[in-house]
Amino acid sequence: MSGLSIQNLSMRFDLPDGGAVQALQDVSLDLKAGELLSVLGPSGCGKTTLLNIVAGFLAPTDGKMILNGHEINGPDAERGMVFQQGALFEWMSVRENVGFGPSMKGMPKRDKAEIVDHLLDVVGLQDFKEKAVYELSGGMQQRVALARCLANDPDVILMDEPLGALDALTREKMQSLVLKLWKETGKTIILITHSVEEALLLGERLLVMAPRPGRIHKEYRLPFAEMGVDADLREVKKHPEFAERREEILGMIWDMEEEIMGRTEAAT
């Protein structure tokens, strides 16, 4: 019973101009506890919508989601979320940000301090504990966001392009950190990205979604995340299968983009 089951999820909403958008159509997915899933697709394929529905911020028009035996209905601390950026509370110090979840639960101060200290060690920000979050670099801020999410000990971690705004070097370091945290904590993670490489590196399973209507196009099971836990990510990228998959998926997404363009041109 443990794990996340998404069954026949559809979402359709009306537009003010009288039209309607089928954002998701019949998406089904079973995720075992501790699985790392990356979701990839061209813009408009509904990947962020899917994540928001799983987080409980949006209600689907059809289908349901079962997490550990109960149905998902609205946001909850069991499903933590890491955003691209700007979701930290700038009126709180790093320590207060990380301890936000435990504070809301009314956890005793001593227990909270212990958790916060541990997580700051894990993400390597112990020295920045009392700083304001706006004093940190973008990469450090995302570490804080990761630690804040983990402090709540959620069953599922949802990541919405968490590394999208970082520069290439920082991004690579953060990718290693995400893999390390995944292995150490054994959390179920769903990660949305628009980078094919990142999806390959950070996905035991990889979903490629297609747009209009948003649906699952293809699913892969990949060895790279497991390899990347102990190895240098650059070594992983040199793997012949990595290059092959990357080309394949890039081609797939290119074709989708072309199709969208074609359809738009035909319409006008």
């Binding site: 946001p75 601390a77 499903r79 979701a87 509370f89 979840g101 809301m104 999410c149």
Partner: protein, 421 residues
């Protein structure tokens, strides 16, 4: 015109002087290495020297044209004539001519002075004497003590040996003497370039008046009581405005119904200048404290409501989502996310509201009040107490500036995350 030209001259001369001095002391910071400064806003910083000279210039001009004792004499603009001057008039009656001397004592206007005694001299035209206040002019019927007066056909034909006719004028050095249509000399001693104290008192007169009013009071209240009343009204009005406005703004930012209900009211009331409400408030609540506080309450209310509303609307949805997925309840989100996120906006609103309230209270006191800074300068102006008016304006400015500085300081202290989100 002349003060303005002097001002422009100081501006230009100081510019070149400071630039010449600055060129000597070469700097080597990042900004000084920029070659493109025209159009680069970050390269434009206020010149400290210019600010200092600017303020000194204002006081210098003020002192120069009021004959301030704070300035050395050579810096004073030419003052009005003071002392005793004489001129000679020549009258003619038929073929008989005679001359007489007029002695004029020009005295400070606040010192009552009698005309000096002079002997009447020889001939049928007798010598005259008169006292005239500085900046004033005086008509003198010189023929009144003459043996042959105007009624006997005598008329003035020369002043200091210069021919003159009714309507003409002669410069006698220290004054201008004009003959009226009826032939009476009008004596106008030189006014100089300095301002009469009734138009513009000197700086030291204003300072002296501050001391006087601070200790003796004006219209039954001391200076501090007047200013205190004004400040008290602002603080109380603002307090109630914020007390109602902030929750109202929050409600408008969080609920469709509240937003829909109050939007038309707030959007209509916001552009109504508080000053336009003064007559209505006086009709409803009279000129006492209640009326003033209601007015200031109304001035602050809409500003604070709009600030709180935009503070709530400005919260990034990802922050709210993050808080929900970290297990926060609605009230926890209100307290830990929405309120702190809206504080910077509320502070900005509070600064604006305090400024508007300060302006409004002064205006309201100008209209009608028993005490207050505005009442003080209004009453003073009716009695031509220009020094009190100027003192009041300066103090009102200082207090307004102080309020703004205080709010900025509080903002820096209390919401250091402003603009960092």
């Amino acid at each position: 015109m002349i003060p303005f030209l002097i001002y422009v001259a100081i501006f230009v001369v100081a510019f070149f002087a400071v630039r010449a001095i600055a060129a000597g002391a070469a700097r080597n910071d990042y900004g000084s290495l920029k070659t493109v400064t025209f159009g680069d806003e970050s390269a434009v910083t206020p010149s400290r020297a210019a600010s200092v000279i600017s303020i000194l210039t204002i006081f210098l001009l003020w002192g120069m044209f009021t004959g301030s004792s704070l300035l050395p004499r050579f810096l004073h603009a030419p003052g009005p004539y003071e002392g005793t001057g004489t001129f000679e008039y020549t009258a003619q009656a038929g073929n008989e001519r005679d001359s007489a001397t007029v002695t004029v004592l020009v005295h400070p206007i606040d010192v009552p002075t009698d005309a000096p005694d002079v002997a009447s001299g020889d001939g049928w035209a007798k010598d005259d004497a008169v006292a005239i206040g500085m900046w004033r002019s005086g008509l003198l019927r010189v023929d009144r003590n003459d043996e042959i007066g105007r009624g006997d056909g005598a008329e003035i034909i020369e002043i200091n040996g210069e021919k003159i006719q009714p309507g003409g004028s002669v410069d006698v050095g220290w004054a201008t003497v004009t003959l009226t249509d009826k032939g009476t000399p009008n004596i106008q001693p030189d006014k100089g370039w300095q301002m009469e104290p009734i138009w513009l008192p000197s700086p030291e007169a204003v300072v002296k008046r501050v001391g006087e009013i601070a200790s003796a009071g004006f219209r039954g209240s001391t200076l501090w009581e007047h200013l205190g009343y004004s400040l008290f009204r602002v603080v109380v009005g603002f307090f109630f405005g914020a007390l109602v406005g902030i929750p109202l703004g929050y409600a408008m930012g969080l609920s469709n119904w509240f937003r829909g209900w109050f939007d038309p009211i707030v959007e209509f009331m916001r552009p109504v200048p508080p000053l336009a409400l003064i007559p209505l408030v006086i009709i409803w609540a009279g000129i006492g404290e209640t009326g003033k506080i209601i007015l200031l309450f109304l001035a602050a209310l809409w500003i604070m409501a709009i600030a709180a509303r935009s503070g709530v609307s400005g919260v990034k949805i990802s922050k709210v989502h993050a808080a929900y997925s970290l297990g926060a309840s609605k009230s926890q989100i209100m307290r830990h996310v929405i309120v702190p996120n809206s504080l910077p906006e509320i502070f900005t609103g509070a600064r604006v509201a305090m400024g508007v309230c300060w302006g409004t209270v002064v205006a309201a006191e100008l209209v009608a009040a028993e005490q207050g800074a505005g009442m003080m300068i209004m009453v003073a102006s009716k009695f031509q107490n220009t020094d009190i008016v100027i003192m009041g304006i300066i103090l009102i400015g200082i207090i307004g500036f102080g309020i703004d500085m205080l709010m900025r300081y509080a903002e820096k202290l209390l919401v250091p995350w402003k603009g960092k989100g």
